[in-house]
Symmetry: D2
Subunit: 360 residues, 4 copies
């Protein structure tokens, strides 16, 4: 991952600020002859789109994607990828930049305002500029392309913790994720969380969350030890998402408390290679996929855009207080679900191509 690009063979470069004219992604290295239309991408963007429920920011963006290059008719009336770079552009339409006049000079604690100013000496402060979570729309668009590259892999995400409230694993149901606006796989938890989040929202507060992303259908063998490990790339990909402060694979931090007897996933003979008796590894051993589901979780901090005044300084070094107005998410973790799915898709697509390059 370098600057604003990631991936080696399936390479994604994004651009754009929250309140600039547009943002987008260039997807380079995509295999050719894959059917691809804007509507294939739009569905995923709609999942991430703000303003879908009372639990997300009320900014209204159509998030309509345009494909500027890299697809062409295959002669049978279908648009397909051509192997050349796919440029995806989303125009910004509902910017309301004046909401952000105040933060032109004052640093919001917990935001990137101060560090951008300290590093670059200039920044587009409107809505956080480049550091805005709005950038993740470009990730989701790229992820939609990536999914098509690894068509045999199913990638799903869910919110598994909101603040102190965890799901009950016994209730885990992927179908439920589609039914509630929280991407929660536990119907009972979804209800409780809705109430809890209403409280958070009404208080003008915010809360953190944990997201779980699972990729099923990944064959054994993807990943390039010892630095191009699949889990290392997943860790970077998830950590690069706005507000993420932790990433774990399989048993994750809980593995620290396990003994070798309990942790190692035993194997029995299966019809196609080993049948693992557990998946503490989260589908990755030695940086290489095992054929089991790849399971990643990441923690998202609460947004710092809250109505309670916080102590801060301005860019002249003067002490002041700040209350963030603007429109914000009480729990940014919710919209991080489709973003995490997209990053999983991009990393897997890249590793699929890299594996195929080395191994045939």
């Amino acid at each position: 991952m370098s600057h604003n690009s990631f991936g080696h063979l399936f390479r994604v470069t994004t651009f754009g600020e929250s309140h600039g004219p547009a943002l987008g992604a260039i997807v380079d290295g995509c295999p050719p002859k894959i059917p691809l239309d804007a509507k294939d991408i739009q569905g995923f963007l709609d999942k991430r789109k703000p303003g879908q429920s009372r639990f997300t920011t009320q900014r209204r963006e159509a998030d309509e994607v345009k494909i500027l290059s890299g697809v062409f008719s295959d002669g049978d009336g279908r648009r397909v990828t051509t192997g050349t770079p796919i440029a995806l552009v989303i125009e910004n339409t509902d910017q309301r930049s004046k909401d952000y006049g105040e933060i032109a000079d004052t640093y919001r604690p917990g935001h990137a305002d101060y560090v951008y100013d300290a590093k670059y000496g200039v920044r587009d402060h409107r809505g956080g500029g480049r550091s805005s979570a709005r950038e993740t729309a470009a990730r989701v668009a790229a992820g939609a392309v990536a999914r098509k590259v690894i068509a045999g892999v199913t990638i799903r995400g869910a919110l598994v913790q909101v603040g102190p409230h965890r799901i009950d694993r016994a209730n885990f149901d992927w179908a439920e994720v589609e039914r509630n606006p929280l991407f929660c796989p536990d119907a009972h938890a979804a209800e409780l969380w809705a109430d809890y989040l209403d409280g958070v929202r009404k208080d003008g507060s915010s809360i953190g969350a944990v997201i779980e992303i699972v990729a099923e259908g990944v064959p054994v063998g993807w990943g390039a030890p010892v630095y191009g490990k699949l889990d290392a790339d997943l860790a970077a990909a998830m950590m690069s998402i706005n507000a993420v402060k932790g990433v774990e694979i399989g048993a994750g931090f809980a593995a620290a408390e396990l003994t070798g007897e309990d942790n190692a996933d035993e194997m029995r003979a299966g019809p196609n290679g080993p049948k693992f008796l557990s998946n503490n590894a989260g589908g990755v051993l030695g940086g290489i996929s095992t054929g089991q589901p790849v399971v990643v979780r990441f923690a998202v901090k609460p947004t710092s855009s809250i109505l309670t005044p916080r102590r801060t300084i301005d860019r002249f070094g003067k002490e002041t207080d700040i209350v963030t107005k603007g429109r914000h998410d009480p729990c940014v973790g919710i919209r991080a679900v489709p973003v995490g799915e997209a990053m999983m898709a991009c990393v897997l697509a890249d590793h699929f191509l890299r594996h195929r390059g080395q191994m045939g």
Copy 2:
């Protein structure tokens, strides 16, 4: 991170198998005129070296590093870097490969044996070959060079959890880390853990751990959003270490339970930029260093090399049991401390140079 290299401007490439003739690292892009002698590196290798205490593997390796290139006399009798690639080689001397005869054909659960075979169709099974933690010696050697590149930064690591036992933060003392063989910063915990680990060792079992690495003296501004984020690179670097299953920055997973009021680090005016009133960010906001200490923790799973028989299959698909003989660490997390420090050093050195490239 790609294959066996990481870093952009300060780039490290490692090679070598556990039981091959040698392993090593090529450090490319190092600035010139930095005093560098083998002994500068040796001290760090000695910290990681096996056989230092009863809590680590009894394999005996001198881990003596040789510098094959990239240093020269500066005319004043000192050896200094010349800006050309620095080749660091460590010969293997105490291989006892026959200990591993059994695992030539049988996959150890929780190890990379199966996936290497499935991916590559051939592997050096002796001691895990390329997937052995022995590879981390090369990281530590490279890390010693990296520390010299960022001479103003102090990097220290400690074991903060062993199995279910955490340190008491009130007892945290960096000086204590040097005094016990567990790199534990809490003298009281160190004693308890020693007893606990003796039990683990005598049982032929193993246990996981959590390591914390802190870098002090990192100035504000290092890191390249939005994919070359400092924390994203740290996540990849730590996750690439053998047996690591989770990485977190600052408050990490605990941030999921925090409100925006509690999480955001408030700022007051300090003599040199802001004085932060807390460090939940772990020294990184928006992927850029804040000037506060950079705090990373990672979870290490227990090694699967244990004396209790585990169910597995062999490479012919036949079901069998395995007991790993060989010489192993009851808690590989201990020796992961200097490795984590080295990875922190390499990532910071790279970001220092990248920042300097873009910003002057």
Copy 3:
């Protein structure tokens, strides 16, 4: 250089097909606070723009560039770079794709039609799609940004040979380059070439050319041996331009005929380091700039779009003849001048940042 990107710290990614909705470039890694407006870029695009004289294709394109991201007000009324990715987009307006109906199925000899089809199995045939020289507009746009990064360097290009006709070095005058539509630095040659090219054009033929690009003001020290050499990167950059078949630095191929006595550039003491008595090296020794002008020449083949029928096959393997209609350049080398300048600028900007990264 990988796929559709080049550069390490100053990194350019381009996208777009000749007859798609738009093409463009993402410039990543640009230092902040550099004044940048669309008009700074437009001037260079206008030099490359088709339809400027009777010697270039009659396709009419405004080639109007829009900046979608990466610039912001500096507070003093100027637009400046912010250090985030700069997205540059140019819409296609005068496509006349029907001119290309015939080549949907038939491969033009000397063009990339056949290889794109053989590699990808699908291609946007209209105007050559991605392989069209129209892509070079994106390079020129990126090059305009690069020039600002290395403001102390003057980059100029000229046509020094058209078919068998070379300039007279005694007449070389940079000012003359601006005065004739051929970018020819020799006023006398410019007249003769104009007549010669009129003949080529009227015959429906085409002819090759040699372009020389000179960068003055490059300080000693840029370049990263032994694979990131300045001249190696320049060679790749120039060879990547459409229709280029050869690249040379300094004395170039003529150096093969020189003795060591004649070739080596002798040195005398100058006020700021050495004064070289000649520049056979073309400003690069050992892959590192010497402080002398960097001199690169590249040969451009004649376009294969000519009115004389040529033997070829179609995509079904059937033999046929082809006459390329459409609108084309009798000497594509002319418009390659600003493209070569842009590539020189991008490579130098990247090496400037890389040098600064390693050396401070």
Copy 4:
């Protein structure tokens, strides 16, 4: 190409100075299960080895390669690659560094002495240190591995020009290349050149040369437009070889003098895709291989190590004269033949894997 590495999937990193303890290469990303023994590499090193004839330097080096990692028994008694990094090390044995005492302080014109000092402020002056052509032994070793990756491709090189003397194309015979110490494919020219070079040698002078490298058996489709073009990567690879000042593909600079009618390679139907009626393209169109032989030529300047005194300065800025003693090649172009072959092999191996990654 970056610093001391090149290639994306087949990636080569080299290290070492002319008079240090050793030099070598790390080959990363090599596919597994390819038979590889030191003797497979040694044959190519022996071709490049100094002291083979009176036309090359009299330095005596065994250039014996050791493989430190990345190969293992395949169970059937053969050593094969394992997919992990292959470390190749060659010890220096005949350094005679005292020959170079004089150049510790004085810059040899036409060598990299001055620029290394100016850039790095320190350098290993002995034999040119890192900038010595001795580094090319590591390229040749890596190239031997690359050839095995693309086993269906035949790569051969020849000297086609020495000073002003060109071969007669009518006499071109690959078999002849093996029979004379000049790698000359024209038996008659080989004799004349031997006399000519004896004169150059006796005069203590040196002369330039042109080398041609041809790869047969490259299928259509390798190369990644528009910046990862096969010819762009070949240009960089060849230009990165010591003393190279020009690179051309196919007709090369001669294409500048051709009309479109003469240049475009016409096509007829062949049994497997098109049969080209000429190969002015040198096997590459639009950056993608055409299936025809890939033909690259590069010009090597004469070494500046000559017995005639040349004017120069020392590192204190003082004017002086220099006569290079030491042991040198009267025509470094001769030994550049196996080096050019190696670079061709590495670039093709990399593009083969990259193509396979994207296309399957």
